[in-house]
């Protein structure tokens, strides 16, 4: 981007806008985040211990580590599923011709605009044993979705479904089909073409999508709240734990867990911005 005279000229308006933006972001985002740090390491009242030691101690409670483990498991599987599905469906949508292709390409965006509560409700209405469309059929073969880890994975996979697709599709469109066509005319199999030609060019888009999905999955709350039994050691994910502890006179633990998730999401953001830079240098 070339600096031009008109763009680099700075008037009072420039400074006014700058100050406005800094203040706005500081008050809306930075200050509250700072307060979370304060609450985490210097809990204000009722004799709760402060400092890093107390923070670590709160997190090493077995039910807290269970919650983080469960969250990691659920996030891991939903990311794996979404990556495989996402890359596959992106290739199909961009490269192949079939009836309903355009509708499908719009529909795969839908999960991100659906309220998490609706996602949870939808899964319950479809798969719960008591009242779901398919619940009793599944239960009769001993398979339960609502109230179990598979249910949590489905809820999480639902809300983060489009993330990989949204990253991969534009790149696939951009690189075009020339190299792939050339490869297959030289006798490469479909798999070889994918592995040698397509995959390297969409690699960063996939990584980017994976990081985004991971962050989204770690933090899912609404959908999970509805499908999870939400019990300690049984379906209580990190986000549910935060709510449960906050409402159960254990605010310091809630803040400690929240602080970890804040760190995780900031880390994800930093990784993403590094990837972006890497991708385009």
């Amino acid at each position: 981007m070339a600096e031009t005279s008109i763009r680099s000229r700075k008037g009072p308006v420039t400074y006014l806008l700058r100050i406005f933006v800094i203040t706005y972001l500081a008050v809306l985002v930075i200050w509250p985040l700072w307060e979370v740090g304060q609450q985490t390491f210097f809990p204000p009242d009722r004799g709760a211990g402060g400092g890093f030691g107390a923070f670590v101690e709160r997190l090493s409670d077995p039910s807290v580590s269970y919650a983080f483990n469960l969250t990691a498991t659920v996030a891991f599987w939903s990311v794996v599923i979404n990556t495989v599905f996402g890359v596959g469906i992106s290739l199909l949508i961009v490269r192949y011709r079939f009836p309903g292709r355009r509708i499908l390409s719009v529909l795969v965006d839908l999960p991100m605009s659906v309220s998490p509560v609706v996602v949870g409700l939808a899964l319950v209405l479809a798969y719960s044993t008591g009242q779901g469309w398919f619940g009793s059929a599944l239960a009769s073969v001993g398979f339960y979705i609502i109230g179990t880890t598979p249910g949590l994975i489905m809820a999480t996979a639902f809300v983060s479904l489009p993330l990989v697709i949204r990253e991969v599709v534009p790149v696939l469109e951009e690189i075009g089909t020339d190299a792939e066509l050339a490869a297959s005319s030289l006798g490469a199999t479909g798999w070889q073409t994918f592995r040698r030609i397509t995959l390297p060019s969409i690699k960063w888009a996939v990584v980017y999508g994976v990081v985004l999905s991971m962050a989204r999955s770690l933090g899912e709350f609404g959908a999970v709240k509805i499908v999870s039994p939400g019990a300690e050691f049984r379906g209580e994910t990190a986000t549910l734990l935060i709510q449960n502890r906050y409402t159960n006179y254990q605010e310091p633990t809630a803040y400690a867990a929240a602080f970890v998730l804040v760190l995780a999401s900031v880390l994800a953001l930093v990784v993403v911005s590094l990837i972006r830079k890497e991708d385009h240098v």
Binding site: P116, L125, L261, S273
Partner: protein
């Protein structure tokens, strides 16, 4: 994390993206136009398509159909009765009004933030650039907790927004912050400097240049960002759980109303409100698709 992160094309992605191709969602839709050479399905890819469709149906389409089914079960009268029940209606109205106000503020502030991030240069700008995404990267329940720690009952500044409409407004403003910024930013970056120079050399003031030259090319991006933000605000749940007090007619919003119906064992009521939210989601993605296709045609 975040539609926004995702809705935004990486700012510096080069290679012939004209200005105005804002929202990413629709770009995919242009595939057929941009891509002459689409392959026919082979047996392998056909199988892949089959598997993908089955999974997509199982995960997304069937459950959503179940919601519509549950809402339809009691018949039109009961569906309509639920939505027009004074309390439910008040919740829906509050949701729409708050989402609308937030969207208006975001359309304005988001554009300003994007402008400053692109055109201004100062120490710490890159930090702000990351800060923009934080509200979205944060788990929503944590977002609620974050806001409560500053504006809650233990507020160091003595302001308690719990169970107020201002609180809901603030929470929505927080979670929707990145949308407009992230859609407008890339367009601003790629905006052609020559046009501005030309306008300036013809004697246009900076404001006139902005209004007549820059703003029109930003409008599609602002519209795209706003509709994403609006959809998000309508459906927001996690960040409001701790903040809204759920007072009927005062601070009860649609998503919390669904939860209340569920907790009160009224599946049909929950499904009815859910269908309405679903409708908003569908309208939004269709609108985005149309916006980006229009822009694509112009570009």
């Amino acid at each position: 994390m975040t539609q926004t992160l995702v809705a935004s094309p990486p700012p510096a992605r080069p290679a012939g993206r004209g200005p105005g191709r804002a929202g990413r969602p629709g770009r995919r839709g242009r595939g057929s136009a941009a891509n002459g050479g689409l392959f026919r399905l082979t047996p392998t890819s056909g199988l892949g398509l089959g598997v993908a469709l089955v999974w997509f149906s199982v995960l997304v389409m069937l459950p959503l159909a179940a919601v519509i089914g549950a809402a339809a079960e009691g018949g039109w009268a009961s569906f309509w009765g639920t939505l027009t029940d004074a309390q439910t209606f008040a919740a829906l109205r509050l949701t729409v009004v708050e989402a609308f106000l937030v969207t208006v503020v975001n359309a304005f502030v988001g554009t300003v933030v994007a402008w400053v991030l692109v055109r201004d240069h100062f120490w710490g700008k890159r930090v702000l650039d990351v800060v923009i995404d934080i509200p979205f990267a944060l788990p929503t329940i944590v977002a609620g907790l974050v806001l409560l720690s500053l504006w809650g009952p233990d507020s160091p500044v003595g302001v308690n927004i719990v169970n107020t409409r201002e609180g809901i407004f603030l929470a929505l403003l927080f979670v929707t912050l990145p949308f407009v910024v992230r859609t407008v930013q890339p367009v601003l970056i790629e905006l052609d400097a020559d046009v501005e120079e030309a306008a300036a050399s013809l004697g246009a003031s900076r404001f006139t240049t902005f209004r007549r030259v820059i703003l029109p090319s930003l409008v599609p991006a602002i519209a795209a960002g706003s509709s994403l933000g609006f959809a998000r605000a309508i459906s927001e749940f996690g960040s409001l759980v701790l903040i809204s007090g759920n007072t009927p007619y005062q601070t009860e919003v649609a998503s919390l109303k669904i939860l209340k119906f569920l907790e009160g064992d009224n599946q049909a009521g929950a499904a009815a409100v859910a269908v309405l939210l679903l409708l908003v989601a569908v309208v939004t993605i269709v609108a985005l698709d149309l916006i980006s296709r229009r822009v694509a045609r112009r570009g």
